[in-house]
Amino acid sequence: MKDKEQMAEELREQEERELHSLAEELATLKQELEEEKKRHLRTRADFDNYRKRAEREAEKAKFYTKKEILLDLLTFLDYFEQAGKQVQDPAAARGIEIMARQLNEFLYKHGVRPVECHGKPFDPEEHEGLGYVTTDQCPEGCVAEEVCSGYKLEDVLLRPAQVMVAQNPGS
């Protein structure tokens, strides 16, 4: 009799143990599933953000490619401007002036705008200061001389104007 009772008891205990381990396993699995779900959501979100940024960046990349090319072109505008100043022969000077104008028009069409500087207060957002000149032609701290012109593409700086800044005599 006792043996039977004992056996039943043992059986029950074993069942309980099994039940307990199954419950534990279920809990672990639930937790794992929860974690996987979270991870999945996070990946989805990451991907979504990545896609959005990729779109933005593709736009930006287009802009920067244009910027690079236009920036290189500006070198030639510099040459024309320099040539216009230096060439003495009137016919040649006129020819150079026309070429400079055409290049200018081309750049304008593509959104390139010169940086205003003459007489403006020095602004490092758009100007690069090379040094001071003593003058009374211009208020102190304003741009007295443009050494190399600056340009913007829409409202992004292509290159700063390189300038000399006025220092009034006796200041």
């Binding site: 930006k60 200061g129 190399c148 390189q162």
Partner: protein, 635 residues
């Protein structure tokens, strides 16, 4: 918690990077640059400028423009006497003999100034990422002492950052190359930046880096190389023209720009032209600078600078009690290590090729980002994703391979494409699954083959057979083909499409590159044959429908041309013959198109003008110019 970034806080420039999808990426600043000058300036109004903007006004405002602050951080006033004499701003002793900068009657600690640089970088990064950056790993030179490290950490805190860790620049560079996984290796990091030169020797084991020795030259960098070229150009010009360009500020600006450009170009070419037309005007008219600089001449001009790198490397080896043979890896850091003469010196000193696959301007920031990613737990979530080593596809008409999944696609992935039949009333299609990069099916590896049967009778080009490739995370490929019309489906499962050994993959990719041109030619030929075949088929169909609308001689001519072309295709005639017959048929088919057009307008009345060309079976274009290849024709 927000994002964690890695920051290379440099003497002249700084850079920031972040982990994205398990990979480090450098983040551009608000101005669109990948690096930010480590410069802070103060206006009279007290307003602060940081980065490029500060640099632009440096010449006007030398006493209030702070640069090279890294040379002062965490140091005592007495220790920096020589550095003090090199900067135009006021350096004074503060509490406990600490370094202070005097600006507008206010004292600033170096860590406060560095914090301003860090703050700008982090703010720009936050904007770029669309997520607030809260944590950072910041790098310092390996020779920094505890005080310098603490001060750098404080700079991070002042900038509002949780500084996860301060790590050595050479360690960061090693991380970017994945050298932390190496066991007991000795690494030499050669860092020639804008203004400083550092050599570090590290030992790595169990993912831990130990600094064995450091050396360097605190005032040697890219700027010295630029100046050497400027001086040479100006001296040459003076010799030829008698004018010193250094006295003309406009000319000097152009000279500096041209010199830097020439230096960069000479890293990839052996000769470069330096041309500045109308650089200045003399008494006798305009003057131009137009000269060539060879790499040999450049090396000659900068020889003494390159030589200055030699002794520090030797000294570092000696300090570490090592010889050049003990060095397992060399890493190049800093833009100036792109100079071929510098690389040659490194090879000569160590007798090994350096690692240089990672951009040397960015390698430190990238490594810092990896460390940040690990510390912030962002790397844990990264499941290592496999890629398909080779392209997968099917054989299509003419024995060409049509790729469905391109090589290096990340798996798991699924792609499908719709094909069609090549013959009228074709009852079945063969799906031949291929792997490889070659254009022709027979040059690729065959993975398996199956047949989709029971396609209801239809003219060629009409049935839609959707072929899907699905690779699961374990690399098991399932290819299925489904006839959209009848719903009949057939599939095959192929395991082991990804477990090729590396050598086999490399061989296949290499072969594809080697045979690229001839494969393209052959592919083009097959495409042309397919186009010709498609045109012959169409014309034949239209002849059956509309033949009686044509004059008898026209009809006869067309029939003859179609037959000739079909015969030529069947007998695999030379491509020239196919081409000429193809164009003959195109010419002749014009009358047929006209007849078709007339019939349609007649049939649909006045409204029929929009109906042209659309009504043909198989979606083909009657003009013949735009015919797509058949059998598994792409829809």
């Amino acid at each position: 918690m927000g994002k964690a970034v890695g920051i290379d806080l440099g003497t002249t420039f700084s850079a920031v990077a972040v982990i994205e999808g398990g990979k480090p990426e450098v983040i551009t600043n608000a101005e669109g640059s990948r690096t930010t000058p480590s410069v802070v300036a103060f206006k009279d109004s007290g307003e602060r400028l940081v980065g490029q903007v500060a640099k632009r006004q440096a010449a006007l405002n030398p006493e209030k423009t702070l640069f090279s602050v890294k040379r002062f951080i965490g140091r005592k006033y007495d220790e920096v006497e020589s550095e003090r004499s090199l900067v135009p701003y006021i350096v004074k002793a503060g509490p406990n003999n600490a370094v202070r900068f005097k600006i507008n009657d206010k004292d600033y600690a170096p860590e406060e100034i560095s914090a301003m640089v860090l703050k700008k970088m982090v703010e720009d990064a936050s904007k770029h990422l669309g997520e607030k950056v809260t944590d950072a790993v910041i790098t310092v030179p390996a020779y920094f002492n505890d005080a310098q490290r603490q001060a750098t950490k404080d700079a991070g805190k002042i900038a509002g950052l949780n500084v996860l860790r301060i790590i050595n620049e050479p360690t960061a560079a090693s991380l970017a190359y994945g050298l932390d996984k190496k066991v007991n290796e000795t690494i030499l990091v050669f860092d020639l930046g804008g203004g400083t030169f550092d050599v570090s020797i590290l030992e790595v084991g169990d993912g831990v880096f130990e600094v064995k020795a450091t050396n360097g030259d605190t005032h040697l960098g890219g700027d010295n190389f630029d100046k050497a070229v400027v001086d040479w150009l100006a001296d040459e010009f003076k010799k030829d023209q008698g004018i010193d360009l250094r006295q003309d500020k406009q000319a000097l600006q152009r000279l500096i720009e041209a010199a830097e450009k020439a230096k960069v170009e000479l890293s990839s070419t052996t000769e470069t032209a330096i041309s500045i037309p109308f650089i200045t005007a003399g008494a006798d008219g305009p003057k131009h600078l137009d000269t060539k600089l060879t790499r040999a001449k450049f090396d000659d001009l900068t020889h003494s600078l390159v030589e200055r790198c030699r002794q520090p490397v030797k000294d570092a080896l000696a300090d570490a009690k090592l010889t050049e043979k003990d060095i397992d890896e060399i890493i190049l850091v800093g833009g100036s290590t792109r100079i071929p003469a510098v690389q040659k010196l490194v090879r000569e000193l160590i007798g090994k090729d350096p690692n240089q696959s990672v951009n040397p301007d960015e390698v430190v920031a990238l490594g810092a980002a990896i460390q940040a990613g690990v510390l912030a737990g962002e790397m844990e979530d990264v499941v290592l994703l496999d890629v398909t080593p080779l392209s997968l596809g099917v054989e299509t008409l003419g024995g060409v391979m049509t790729k469905i999944i391109e090589r290096n696609s990340t798996i798991p992935t699924r792609h499908s494409e719709t094909f069609s039949t090549a013959e009228d009333n074709q009852p079945a299609v063969d799906i031949h699954v291929l792997q490889g990069e070659r254009e022709l099916a027979r040059d690729n590896r065959s993975l398996g083959q199956f047949k989709l049967e029971g396609i209801p009778p239809a003219p060629r080009g009409l049935p839609q057979i959707e072929v899907s490739f699905d690779i699961d995370a374990n690399g098991i490929l399932k290819v299925s083909a489904k006839d959209k019309g009848s719903g009949k489906e057939q599939e095959i499962t192929i395991s082991g499409s990804t477990n090729l050994d590396q050598g086999e993959i490399e061989r296949m990719v290499e072969e594809a590159q080697k045979h690229g041109e001839e494969d393209k030619q052959r592919r083009k030929e097959v495409d042309e044959r397919n186009e010709a075949d498609s045109l012959a088929y169409q014309v034949e169909r239209q002849l059956n429908e509309l033949g009686d609308k044509l004059p008898v001689h026209e009809k006869g001519r067309l029939e003859q041309t179609v037959n000739e072309l079909k015969e030529a295709l069947k007998s695999n005639a030379p491509i020239e013959k196919i081409r000429s017959l193809h164009s003959d048929l195109q010419q002749a088919a014009h009358s047929l198109s006209e007849a078709a057009y007339q019939q349609q307008t007649a049939g649909t009345g006045a409204a029929g003008t929009t109906g042209g060309g659309q009504s043909q079976a198989g979606g083909s274009d009657s003009g013949g110019d735009d015919v797509v290849d058949a059998e598994y024709e792409e829809q």
